[in-house]
């Protein structure tokens, strides 16, 4: 199964995602340039972290107009797996593929640290290899990662079991400690923490691998 890692101008975790998938997961991965309107024959898409188009205006706000995002929308509509990490999550939210918004951290500062996350649901192609309630250690590194949505949306996310990961010690003020969510069809996930930075012991944690393993398992079933 082939993973496609989208490269926007300003993406800076693209190499890391590629490395995590191709070396630590052991599946083929390729880069997809932001001007492509064709994703080729990839089986899953990763929108990596970084500062797409400089993140001027608002994080992810410019990326949503890129040719590649039109293709990603079609890919998602056809049921393809899309994982948005950090800036990728912000892009998914701006693009309307996921609900809510990511606003500045509660402390108004960029935070880089190792955090603990609780797996809220294992019923997703991104966490099927984890167990509900399992604690995962992964880093965060963002300035605008405070998840925000109106109560109705938050209730809906909870009722539909679409909150995938929750912070144990909320670092950024995210409502209801939300760190990662799914779309209604459960094939698009966005999260602020960086699973690709936790895929081998030398990185300080291998817990992030479970996300990629789950994706690989889901693809293998297709």
């Amino acid at each position: 199964m082939r993973f496609g890692v989208v490269v926007f101008p300003g993406s800076n975790c693209d190499h890391d995602a590629w490395y995590a998938v191709s070396r630590n997961l052991g599946q083929p991965a390729e880069f997809i340039w932001h001007e492509s309107s064709n994703l080729g024959n990839v089986d899953a898409i990763i929108l990596p972290g970084g500062f797409s188009y400089g993140d001027y205006l608002r994080c992810g706000a410019i990326a949503k107009f890129s040719p590649v995002m039109a293709a990603v929308r079609r890919f998602a509509a056809d049921g393809g797996l899309v994982l948005g990490i950090c800036n990728g999550f912000q892009i998914l939210v701006e693009s309307g593929l996921l609900p809510g918004a990511l606003i500045r951290n509660r402390g108004l500062k960029f935070i880089c640290r190792q955090v603990e996350l609780e797996v809220v649901t294992a019923d997703s192609p991104f966490t099927s290899q984890a167990e509900r309630g399992q604690i995962l250690r992964m880093p965060i590194a963002h300035g605008e990662g405070c998840y925000y949505a109106d109560d109705r949306t938050l209730d809906e996310l909870a009722a539909e079991d679409r909150v995938v990961l929750r912070y144990r010690d909320n670092p950024n003020g995210s409502l209801r400690d939300i760190a990662g969510i799914l779309n209604r069809e459960r094939n698009v996930m966005g999260l602020m923490p960086h699973p690709e930075r936790a895929t081998e012991p030398l990185m300080g944690s291998s817990d992030g691998l479970v996300v990629f393993r789950s994706m690989a398992a889901a693809l293998a079933l297709r």
Partner: protein, 738 residues
């Protein structure tokens, strides 16, 4: 054009003698544009005219060195066909005037130096100095400068996508009006694909790539070569504005363009912008360069040749392409949405010829600018010394309270508040990040990791520049060795006051000599660096602050870290208790924080012994004998033990010190050549130490949650770890009122 008047000459910070030298070199009066060009190239910042004769005393060669000083960055061989480019730069003056942009563009500038060599930046470290945060008069401004500098570094590094993995941050009154921001960057490239800034091939096109030129930063280099006065803060327009996103594009475009094989030479436009890049590339290559400013992409209308040549707009590069292949280069830059235009060509006549719409506005021999800048043998005397030799009589009433005061002091406390704002993990190479003795980055393409540390001690140097500089090198090498890496090369940043004052010049000379001596001894040649002089405000110079960055090599593996991991392990003080007397104690953090006085001399250093301790440490690390290792430095043994206890395991230590040293000295003296090691195999550690001829004192064992320090049966300090840790961890936030 305007006539050159004495006022105009002095406004360009050139002396009358320097002006006469210009006239002699040209054989005529310079034009206004030429005067501007000379003034920046002959500024202290670009020409090193006060330090050059002394910098020659530094060792620059060694078995690992591929490229020493003189290029955009130094390069060393790290094995497996790969090389490491690295260099440190100061951005002190801009950071005082505009902390956020000053620091941000400091990061941007040094990153360009690295990827200009063809190396992808893999890490940044910062050495920062500010005035005291709680000073009733200057505290508010110092806090503002610190916050601005930190967010500037974070903004640039995080967006660019380079991890900021370590450094140091020190507070001293002398830096209130003159903070120091020194940035060290490292990058990795293939050993056979290093790019140099040597213009070659007559007729080859000269391309301008990257951001457009604006009016920002004009005369930045000259500003950085003058003392601060009341008017300095009005120089804000001299500070450049950084755009890390653009630099990220420039990085990717440059590396991709280099792959085409069509690039002959490349240099970034840093200080003195287009002026410096053109004449230095020409001078290094022994060629001439002719450009027409008409083709330079401009952000503002109506810029004069003078302004275009002197602008320090960021995120720009100058490159020489192979004739006929420029389209290959242009295509790559277009892909990344960047300007790339041919603005001139390489010539055979050795001249920098600048045209504006075909009309010659400057015509200067390249060598006159780059190599024939004045070199001064400035007079020097004994170094300025502000502190007495003798200190007060004192006796501690509460050693535990003293330890707490030290742990909560600016220099010793945790800098987490700072480094958590930096993305220190991006690129997933950070094996050991901030907070350790040295940062470790694995090089994915090999089985080698690079360890890097950054050290300086202005207080030691204020008491003895020579000894202080030697101690900085020794500590930096010790830090690298403590994580198990072999120190192989260094880069330095020399921050001093006004060299025209003989007692300041004396500090500079002694520090360079001390640094040279130590770098020779520890076999860490200096491959490049930076000199920042005129760090004075209203006639008050900073403490002499030579900063050194040392890189070492170690086999990639789990890192050896500072913190105790498990209770019941033996605690060994490698190197022994060391020596101290009342004079040497005057340079310690204890003297500064607890007694609030500084006197005497820095700690005594025995370089032979230090080298043996480091070798023993590396062997202990390589054999996997140690569970933790932390060098003893600021705050002495008590602080080292406390810091070793502040890990996630919450494991402290109970130690019994069999030493006749006075208790304050025993706990808090800062004698070098000592490392606290915890181990499950004390006999094996002791055997290694014996073989290297160094002491290994088994001083106690690790215990759950407590710190207990006794001297020959008498308990000096006994307390729980957690309250100490909280004090240490939260001190900076409290001082900032954050």
């Amino acid at each position: 054009m305007s006539t050159i008047t004495p006022d105009l000459i002095s406004a360009h910070q050139l002396t009358e003698e320097e002006y006469q030298r210009i006239v002699a070199l040209l054989g005529r009066e310079p034009t206004y544009t030429e005067l501007g060009i000379f003034s920046v190239m002959w500024s202290e910042h670009c020409s090193y005219k006060s330090s050059r004769v002394h910098l020659k005393k530094l060792p620059t060669r060694g078995p690992y060195v591929i490229q020493g000083p003189g290029e955009n960055a130094g390069v060393i061989d790290i094995g497996g066909g790969w090389a490491l480019a690295f260099k440190i730069e100061s951005h002190n003056h801009p950071s005082f005037i505009e902390p956020f942009q000053g620091a941000a563009t400091g990061v941007g500038g040094i990153l360009r130096d690295i990827f200009t060599m063809g190396a992808r930046p893999v890490a940044v470290l910062d050495s920062l100095r500010f005035g005291p945060l709680e000073d009733p008069h200057t505290g508010a401004r110092n806090r503002r400068i610190l916050a601005g500098v930190v967010s500037g570094i974070a903004h640039y590094g995080n967006c660019f996508g380079v991890p900021t993995v370590g450094g140091e941050c020190v507070f001293e009154a002398g830096y209130s009006g003159n903070p120091l921001v020194n940035v060290l960057a490292l990058g990795v490239c293939r050993k056979d694909q290093i790019f140099y800034a040597r213009a070659a091939g007559v007729g080859n096109p000269v391309l301008y790539v990257g951001a457009k030129t604006g009016r920002d930063g004009i005369h930045g280099a000259s500003m950085a070569s003058a003392e601060f006065t009341e008017e300095s803060r009005q120089k804000r327009p001299n500070v450049q504005v950084g755009d890390p996103f653009l630099e990220k594009l420039l990085l990717e475009a440059c590396l991709e363009a280099m792959e085409t094989g069509a690039i002959v030479a490349i240099q970034d436009m840093g200080a003195a912008g287009l002026t410096c890049s053109t004449c230095e590339m020409g001078s290094r290559g022994g060629t001439g360069i002719e450009i027409d400013l008409e083709h330079v992409p401009q952000r503002e209308a109506g810029m004069t040749p003078y302004e275009i040549m002197l602008s320090e707009s960021q995120e720009r590069m100058l490159l020489v392409a192979a004739k006929g292949r420029e389209q290959e280069v242009v295509r790559v830059f277009r892909k990344w949405g960047l300007d790339a235009v041919t603005i001139g060509q390489v010539t055979a006549d050795g001249m920098l010829r600048v045209k504006d719409h075909g009309r010659v506005v400057a015509e200067i021999p390249n060598r006159a600018l780059a190599d024939e800048a004045p070199v001064y043998e400035r007079p020097y005397t004994r170094p300025l010394r502000k502190y007495p030799m003798e200190g007060p009589g004192f006796r501690s009433h509460d050693l535990e309270a003293d330890l707490k005061a030290l742990l909560a002091s600016g220099d010793v406390c945790s800098k987490r508040w700072i480094w958590e704002q930096y993305d220190y993990m991006v690129r997933t190479n950070t094996v050991e990040g901030p907070g350790g003795d040295a940062a470790i980055l694995r090089i994915k393409e090999t089985d080698i990791s690079v360890a890097v540390a950054l050290d300086g001690n202005g207080r030691y140097c204020a008491l003895s520049p020579r000894e202080g500089a030697r101690l900085a090198v020794a500590e930096c090498c010790r830090n690298v060795s403590t994580v198990g890496a072999l120190p192989v090369a260094a880069t330095n940043c020399l921050n001093f006051g006004n060299p025209e004052r003989p007692e300041i010049m004396g500090q500079l000379v002694e520090a360079i000599e001390g640094m040279g001596e130590a770098c020779r001894f520890f076999e860490t040649p200096i491959t490049g660096g930076n000199v920042s002089l005129y760090n004075e405000t209203l006639g008050e110079a900073i403490d002499p602050t030579p900063v050194i960055g040392v890189v070492g090599l170690v086999k990639t593996g789990p890192p050896l870290t500072v913190d105790f991991k498990r209770p019941g392990r033996a605690v060994i003080l490698l190197g022994g208790f060391g020596e101290c007397d009342a004079t040497r104690f005057g340079s310690t953090q204890y003297a500064k924080v607890v007694l609030q006085q500084i006197w005497g001399l820095p700690p005594a250093l025995d370089m032979e012994y230090e080298k043996r301790v480091q070798a023993a440490m590396r062997e202990i690390a390589a054999a996997g004998l140690a569970e933790s290792a932390h060098d003893v430095s600021d705050g002495g043994l008590a602080v080292a033990l406390a810091e070793s206890s502040f890990g996630p395991a919450g494991v402290g230590a109970a130690v019994e010190l069999d030493s006749g040293l006075r208790e304050e000295f025993l706990l808090f003296h800062e004698g070098p050549s000592r490392i606290v090691v915890s181990t499950e195999q004390p006999e094996a550690v002791e055997a290694v130490a014996r073989r290297h001829g160094v002491e290994a004192r088994r001083i106690g064992t690790t215990v759950e949650g407590r710190i207990r320090i006794a001297q020959r049966g008498r308990v000096l300090i006994e307390c729980a770890v957690e309250p100490l840790r909280r004090l240490w961890d939260g001190a900076l936030e409290r001082m900032l009122g954050a």
